[in-house]
Amino acid sequence: MYKIEKLNELAKKVAEKRAANADLEPRRMTAEEKDTLLAAFHPDYKQDEFTVLSAGVNKGEKVPSQLAELLQGKSRISADDVDLSAPDYETDVLIIGGGGAGASAAIEADEAGVKAMIVTKLRIGDANTMMAEGGIQAADKPNDSPAIHYIDAFGGGHFAAKPELVKNLVTKAPEAILWLNKLGVEFDKEPDGTMVTTHGGGTSRKRMHAAKDYSGAEIMRTLRDEVLNRGIPVIDFTAAIEIILDENGKAAGAVLMNMETKELLVARAKTVIIATGGAGRLHYQGFPTSNHYGATADGLILGYRVGAGLLYADTLQYHPTGTGYPEQIFGALVTEKVRSLGAKLVNIDGEVFMHPLETRDVTAASIIRECSERGKGVETPLGKAVWLDTPMIEYKHGEGTIEKRIPAMMRMFGKYGIDIRKEPILVYPTLHYQNGGLNISVDCSTDVENLYAAGEVAGGIHGRNRLMGNSLLDVIVFGRDAGKNAAAKAKDMPVPEKLTLAHIEKFNNELAEAGVAGDTVSPMLLPHYARK
């Protein structure tokens, strides 16, 4: 039951129309309808929320204003603050970030026989990977193929992705699932071993593999266990705050900061992989976020300051179904799998207002339109929201389906007295994913030699919109590739000499010349939520 009586009353209207709504197969929008909808209601199209960069590689391009401030922020240190001649850590491959991509990279680098080391500002596994609920895509069924997956991903991203990256993503997907399965990751299977797969928004085949609605957690905890089994050093509560270059401008390590003692440390490495994840905690346009506490765009800042370019940093994914109510879980992710299993989106009048499995950008824009222009949203103390009719899942598939397939969702709402098997839930878009990021080539290399990027911090794989289940896939495929490629490169080179942080002053000068030197210090590392 909802604590607000009015909501219980409105929920009855949803229940009354459930049987009729369950039978509906809402029409999908045409390409033109989608374009018009996005332009009018998607947050990426709100021009006054963006700032054109005045300095750095992407000078002249627009990015969200909060990100611009950090990209054009000043370093936490000056070059004199550390002694680069006496590194505290020496390794072949330095991996910044302990999420799905970082852990995958570490395992592959270790497998290749070089020394790998992970630094992470929180703990290994504190990452968006851990929170991915719905699943991971791979075209491994007889009615599917990597070519169909290619068309879904490329089209869903508005034909903007780099084709060679999409090809890499889809052709290595089945191998990625097999690799995970061999590490011991559990997937939902039929008794004969056939994968239980569902649709995601914008998929044309049912290729979403899952481990209940703990898919990312199951993958992440297994990768973490494997990293620890291999004895790969994990330096936790230690953030990278600057990339170190050698005299030829190649990446050669990072300056680290102990998050608790603030002690500065130097790590020297032959190659460096940035795997720091996304930026939801910057709360672009004031949106709540489904992201991890540490999702503050650090990797974009680290890379940009040493000359690695960004691609599509102006496109963000607002997950259509963030929790709209209650306040304790406002903005928390309600997995797309809820819609994959058959729940529909319903407005205040109990009407199904769209096909529930359009791509995420289209669905988010459609919900925003329902709550604004059309005035069909449900008013809560936190703002407007629409219904997601979860009881429809059991109406269609029988009792027990919710507990078996989406236990985390049942638990999350159950803690606040809402039984999603019996009551519909309230949802509104939440800031979920950074579609763009550091521009990478198919080998995961950035514009800076010996500097690699993988996972959410990288851009170009998903174009301007990512499909559900392609992010867990991306962190595994590109994380592994980054580890292999960075290791191969490290094998053939000597330990870098003449380390330098000269880029800090150079970038400061550029900011000053452009007239944008301010007081903001970056990378941000953690959001500031303490009440002042």
Binding site: A31, Y150, I151, F187, K189, S204, A211, F237, Y293, R531
Partner: protein
């Protein structure tokens, strides 16, 4: 202000708005969290917390990000607990009873007090999954422990010194790798890809003019 409640963070009293979680109440009180805060969504286990309501005997455990504050709540967070994780090579072990005896023999010292189950922040039947592990029933152990976020509160309450989350982790990996049925269509597809079956087709898609691929996308057949 209306609707304020008194909470005691590490024993110190703060007045915070009702409706906050323990985590947001700490931030309201002025804490800048570094430890004890992770996904903020109930998946990572970083914010294990123990509390007792003033005047009551019962000691409760929860995740700070998933629990609403109550009047008179005495809160102690448990941002780290020294679990024992044994190291093994997943390729070289077998899903037999012996592997548990070898790696986590302390599970056989379980006295059946059920404190682990009572303490579980995910309301799992922890003692039951340990019993399954003792008997080498890894499939059952994996299923029973599946929603574990490895926060470690169970282990903090265990008189036998068991690291329950790590036992369950091993069981799930054994189950996922060795016991769950193998997926035939997955192996077949990997082989097809390695044989280059789709190479030409995908290359041709990559070369197509944008209008052609748009047409392909907009008219593609969608499986029901």
């Amino acid at each position: 202000m209306d609707n304020m409640v008194n909470v005691y963070l590490f024993g110190k009293k703060y007045s915070v708005p009702a409706g906050l979680t323990i985590m947001t109440a700490m931030e309201y009180a002025g804490y800048e969290l570094v430890r004890g805060c992770g996904c903020r969504n109930g998946f990572c286990g970083a914010c294990a917390t123990i509390y007792r309501i003033k005047g009551q005997q019962q000691l409760n455990a929860c995740l700070a990000c998933q629990t609403e504050v109550q009047e008179g709540m005495y809160v102690a967070t448990l941002p780290f607990f020294p679990l024992v994780k044994q190291v093994y090579n997943i390729e070289n072990i077998k899903p037999t009873e012996q592997i548990m005896m070898q790696l986590y023999p302390e599970i056989y010292a379980c006295i059946g007090c059920n404190a682990c189950t009572k303490a579980c922040t995910q309301e799992l039947n922890v003692m039951q999954y340990i019993a399954y592990a003792q008997r080498g029933e890894y499939e059952k152990c994996a299923e029973e422990s599946f929603d574990c976020v490895m926060c470690g509160v169970c282990s903090s309450r265990c008189p036998a010194g068991i690291s329950h989350p790590q036992v369950a982790m091993l069981a799930r990996r054994l189950n996922g790798k060795y016991l769950a049925p193998e997926c035939g269509h997955l192996k077949d597809r990997v082989k097809e890809i390695n044989d280059g079956t789709f190479e030409e087709l995908i290359e041709s898609l990559m070369q197509k003019p944008i209008d052609e691929i748009k047409e392909l996308y907009n008219t593609r057949e969608i499986e029901k």
